[in-house]
Symmetry: D3
Subunit: 217 residues, 6 copies
């Protein structure tokens, strides 16, 4: 069983989407996927905010955009996938008991897709979460500003939380937020963070590798 | 009562969306809006087709994209609007009896948003449909190729059908398709087609003007 | 995999319904069925029209009647069938991935059940549609008026479209309409039209026969 | 506020349906209507039973048929009515708080529409139920067999229950069943039973008349 | 296939719930369970009644409480169970065709959970219903008042109905009511009534025993 | 417009529930209420945890229990209230536009009801949240252990966050959690925390008083 979080950025590049779809088709077991909103989400949220829309609607627009990404992936996976993006944990649970692959976007306003991925891992009873991120690993400082920033291959959720508080992490809250960390920690799920532009890392991790960072409870 | 069809192109320009939202807020009576999918729809459908997705899923992606546009508009209109895009005629009917403004995207695979607009006009019992299009009027030939193409200010659905069959109309089926024509004709709805980049035309038409083409049964 | 369209007329004869149910139970593979509204639909639509009901509600009455027919068939098939008539393409898709048999009536106002059958064939990825019709084949003229009308055993959708335009085809739009033709053609589905009063033709066609007309893309 | 139960027989006569629709449109206050299944229900249930369908599906067919009747009435009433037949007490409650008129058919297998009418009266907090029946009043014996059977203008639920147990009442359980009686009694709803072929009796009862039987707690 | 009715009392004792969950996990075949509302239901209904709430809402509170019991049992059974309590017979039917175990609480206002169990047995096509009751068997008189009351090991529904009418049966209508009896009788379901505090009796009955009373049609 | 959060403890005391219902009936404007799960939630979650149920199901049990509390309150308020507890922000939004009073319990696993209250305040566009808590105010230390702990009448969300981090606050996370704080702060909602056993404080706060603590952005 595999839980895979795909940053919305992946959906800005056609080839990447196709490659992830191929990997999911190829993998034998159950796969739960959570997709971010990406560029489409950012653009619609910006338009809504400028026009004075409430935070609730801004979040809903991000959710709709992430579901568009989810549906694209579903359309490329075929008959093994639940044919729509579930909109609640309960719908996910029901779909998950009946389909090999379930692809969700966002669930509800006020939740990041990082949190949705954590909730999905919890509901599925998964022990591992693969986070195909918009950064290649966790660093001890911002690598874009500090050339000496060090990649951290393995760390605990406690250590991650400390780093998030003291330094500006690129990817930041899109990657993980305090709420998703608390859910992953209470279920003792191991998270692998890796560069989302490298779909081949999914299978490398499944074979025991760690191309980015590994976070344990 | 007003039924307004907005081509998806409008949602590629932030200012246009804001202007249409302002007009809908300003108008006193009931307003039903149907939004097209625009650039986002086209991009996702292209990715799905290239990856071998079925026509059903390609249509669903276009529908999801059009609902994203619908939700953006809803978020800018405020409390008068039904807070989501209805997904069937029945849900539209129910929402329409309770809210001043209802904004729909696509309904079901195999239907253009032109057809959705016709079904919405039929369900609402509207006598007029305003089609904010990606063309400024109906022509007797393709104005992009034939510099002598003539704008037709008033015509009947029968005449429109004949033109659609014999010449390549820019905007073509996005504008109107045989199915939407047959629904509009059976309800004798008058359609105004006008340049979607000119939101002010909505109020001009409401005051009795005809800045593009007027189609009658 | 089999997609079967049953004209509503079949549901006016108890024995026919029972025979189709028996065939569907007997067939090994997956079967999607679409049922027309028949006499009940016609009677309720007539009452609604006479009382001034909108076209939307007239269509909805036809849809409810077709779902009554769908449910009757479901009740005779037993545990292999999805226990209700799906009301949208999305619900069909979801049910189809989980059940051997799914029986739909109409989906939405403004769509014939011929179109629903085409959408179902598209969503299921079917290559063949069996249309148990209220006529025994396609003719080059109306056989009820012209004794020399000739039965056409094989034709293309283009040829069918031409015939529909130039002659009064008995069964007419209940059989196929332009919209259903365009969906079947874009998916290159082969349609067999045969006399709905002869259920045994289903198995004859499955064995390679063609008791009525065969339409190809 | 008025709760009106219409026997399915009414829907076998076009004129009666139109007259009831006109009365409901005319009445100023809130109206909840419950429709029986009538001839269509009987025919479909008979076909299902003969084919070996379960009692659950036989009941569901009766429910679908009663909803077809409900939708016909809705289509004739217009914008004041909730546009669909609610399928549960909860949906009725929600619709009832938002619409002047709500028309329900059956709710769930194992319940008569007499019981649905009692549940609807309870949920609406009604003190009176008008039962447009397939008999003109309650009798002390079967008037079709016993020429001396006496019409009973006023009685209590206890007396009604005794009559139902000791004599064959025409209309019998379609009219009232023990379960509907227990619900009406616990809410102390007054029931008027009258000949459903006489729509004018509705207004007569509203003016204080009692053209059939009046049952009190 | 097994249909099991659990009195709400069982949910007042943690150990009993765990034992029933273990038995359901252990049993190989399909299991449909219906749970009563128990102490929580009684307390909330009492508060609502005292505050003047309608019977409809009192019943709904009992239903919500019974669904809480259903969900607790579901949470202890694991992946074999449909992850929520169905709220209608139709939802039960759909879930039942896809899951080994389905656990329902109440369905609709105006129905006891005894009736829900009968409807579930009917929908599932079960021939046996195991009623884990708040009494250990059917007696010919109230054993709490009459020390000579005799346990009746086997009886028919007709006999049960007569006993219910002439004596105060402990457990009374929670156990069986006239409506549930009529549904069980029309499907000729055999009911075993036994002491709900003895979960081991489930397997004893499955092996052919009869620790309480057996009711046949 | 008023958003009122009621700690689940209130539902352990019949009189308190009745008093809050009376206040909500009396207040003229719109009222959104969010109810906690209380003793019932705690008991069911404990049983589930002991039996090895997942965190997802433990959370769902808490949500079901909080909805039972919500329904009890709804049943006591009457026709002004949406007749069920919405299960998502979107359902809340829709109900809120149509009803004077909407009462929600929990929404989704992984969210406290404190967070639900914050999301509801955001969706409703409220500027004030009244938190009827299981503590009478915010203190600078735990008043149960430190007799010198000082009540803080007014503070900012930043100050509240600091206190939550450095001292054991009674009521703690049930009262407010980091996620609910971040939502309230981004919308600049003022929160009043007061002793939930004193319903009269609602009206005192509406008249400008501050019987507990007032938190501003």
């Amino acid at each position: 069983m595999l839980v895979l979080k795909l940053t919305g950025r992946i959906f800005d590049e056609e080839d990447l989407v196709a490659k992830y779809a191929a990997i999911i088709r190829r993998i034998g077991g159950k796969v739960a996927v959570v997709t971010g909103g990406g560029e489409v989400a950012r653009r619609y949220i910006a338009m809504a905010r400028k026009g004075g829309a409430s935070n609730t609607f801004q979040d809903l627009l991000g959710i709709y955009a992430s579901r568009l990404n989810a549906l694209l992936l579903i359309s490329l996976i075929g008959d093994d996938a639940y044919p729509k993006a579930p909109s609640t944990v309960e719908e996910f649970l029901d779909a998950w008991r009946r389909h090999r692959v379930v692809v969700a976007g966002g669930f509800q306003p006020g939740q990041s897709t990082a949190t949705v991925a954590a909730l999905v891992a919890e509901a599925a009873g998964a022990s591992v979460l693969l986070n195909a991120a918009n950064i290649d690993a966790v660093y001890d400082d911002d690598p874009r500003r500090n050339p000496n920033a060090r990649k951290i291959p393995t760390l605990t959720y406690d250590e991650l939380e400390r780093i998030l508080k003291t330094s500006v992490v690129p990817g930041g809250y899109e990657l993980v937020d305090p709420w998703s960390i608390s859910i992953l920690r209470r279920n003792c799920v191991t998270t692998y963070i890796f560069d989302g532009r490298r779909p081949e890392y999914v299978e490398e991790i499944l074979r025991g590798g760690n191309p980015g960072s590994k976070i344990t409870c």
